[in-house]
Amino acid sequence: MARKKTKRAEIVELTVLKPLDWVDERTAFVRGTKWFLFRNVPRDISWAQTLGFGTLIAFTSQVLTGVILAMYYQPSSGIDPLTGKPAAYTSIEHITNEVTLGWLVRGMHRWGASVFVILMFLHMGRVFLFGAYKYPRELNWIVGVLILLTGMLMGFTGYLLPWDQTAYWATVVGINLNGTAPFAGPWLAQWLAGGPEIGSDALAKWYALHMLLIPGALIALIIVHLYLVARLGVVSPPWSKEGAGRERPARAPSAAARAGLTRAGTEGSD
């Protein structure tokens, strides 16, 4: 039934679908996105399953606000000649009191850090109580625990950066706490402090850890975590009436399979 296309449909096809097809044919990007986003989930999921996404949003907010804060922050313990205070603390004061909306972005980053950690624990509790860590999702639990540890390290390293009395002494306690670990502890403590006590290199080192090394690890772990979620699917709640492991209905081979771009029968059989 060859219906005549409307003008609107023609424009959509020309400006959106054609370029997308062009990209998809060369990269499988559109198919990958569909595979990642348009998944079957149990019909009896609830708001509890959104905690993981909430954590992701909190992390994204931390990344965005952190990048903006890095444009104004100075990781230096040297004394600012104008204020007579350390440059790091002066830049924090500058962000909070003088930069337009700086108080808001810093507040989002500071309180958002707590939100991120709280959401991680709530999400972990949901996974635990729903038994969503069981076969075949054990590895994703392990990756999640690594994300939790890296997230806590973000909090630990970020706490020093305002370079005020609370930040300094809390970090001294944290470093010395690490120092009491048997055998390797004193070495770890001295590396973290940049010497027997916190020295002038420590602040820049912790800044680099906080904004380069640990976030890099965290983002990599999150990608693995999300891939495993997409691959293994969402588990139905323990009270679900639906049987697990239902066979999927058979599908007609896709256009890509017909064109020989994917092997017929393997597409979407995960």
Binding site: G179, F183, P186, A193
Partner: protein
């Protein structure tokens, strides 16, 4: 087993760069030997067994017969192995200096100079004075440290006696405060050194409630040993403080005190008893 030996070798090499050159040499030798053994083990499958070539027996009949192909070490296998080897070598060459740059500066050149706290007249007998100073003037205020100095007069031997406590709590390193009023008006400044008399014969830590008596012995709270002390000397009637040492316990008071001294260790760690064995080498003991 080989990778473990290789890792131990690398660890010794890095440790040796901090401690002494012969440990570094041992580590380098261990690393090279175990690295080669490891490489040999890993590539065994790629290389295949060494072919057993039968001794040649030249006869006219054999020369005419069809040649048997020798077990070959093919070009692709050779290239594969050399690519893996080259990548590993390049990776090592690139990674080791970067790792060293990341780790070593915290452990080298960390010794702190002696500090001149000024003339002895500023330290009245039997009273504590809070002395703050820059342990490393190049680093500026971040290196400001605090010592509690008490002039004990003269010991039985006739030598002058001082009790000089380091202000950092031996629980987890918070700044211990004297339990008494500080006379800010009587502050004396000698260069970067600031001296403030204080009416106190005990000390307390604000973080977790550790309490110490006038000799730095723990009286309450979580600290695991007595307060750290400075070695000192007197030069031209001026008080000079040197490096820190840890104190297990002090018996007696002032000039008559018996101090159980140990090499300095990080806060929160025991210096005496069985649990001291958990901290065999404290880095600043060997690098300063």
């Amino acid at each position: 087993m080989w990778p473990i030996g290789f890792a131990i070798g690398v660890a010794f090499l890095l440790l040796g760069l901090v401690i002494s050159w012969w440990i570094a040499l041992t580590g380098a030798i261990l690393g090279v030997v175990f690295g080669l053994l490891w490489a040999r083990d890993v590539t065994r499958e790629v290389r295949g067994d060494v072919p057993q070539i039968a001794p040649e027996r030249r006869t006219a009949a054999a020369l005419d017969g069809p040649e048997e192909p020798l077990p070959a070490y093919t070009r692709s296998r050779f290239l594969e192995a050399s690519l893996i080897g080259l990548s590993a070598a390049l990776g090592g060459i690139l990674t080791l200096p970067v790792l060293g740059f990341m780790v070593l500066p915290s452990f080298t050149d960390v010794e702190e100079d002696e500090v001149d706290l000024g003339p002895l007249e500023n330290f009245p007998e039997g009273e504590y004075v809070i002395a703050t100073y820059l342990s490393n003037p190049e680093q500026g205020e971040v290196s400001r440290r605090t010592a509690f100095v008490r002039n004990n007069g003269f010991a039985e031997s006739g030598l002058p006696s001082f009790t000089i406590l380091y202000s950092r709590c031996v629980h987890l390193g918070c700044p211990v405060q004297p339990n008494g009023p500080i006379d800010e008006n009587a502050m004396t400044t000698i260069g970067d050194v600031e001296l403030r008399p204080v009416l106190a014969q005990s000390f307390g830590c604000p973080c977790h409630g550790g309490q110490y008596n006038s000799e730095g012995n723990r009286t309450a709270g979580p600290p695991v040993r007595s307060m750290d002390r400075y070695r000192f000397s007197i030069r031209n009637n001026r008080l000079i403080i040197h490096d820190l040492y840890a104190v297990g316990n002090v018996t007696g008071t002032g000039a008559n005190a018996t101090i159980h001294a140990y090499p300095w260790s990080v806060p929160g760690t025991h210096v005496d008893g069985i649990s001291a064995w958990l901290y065999p080498i404290v880095p600043s003991q060997v690098t300063s």
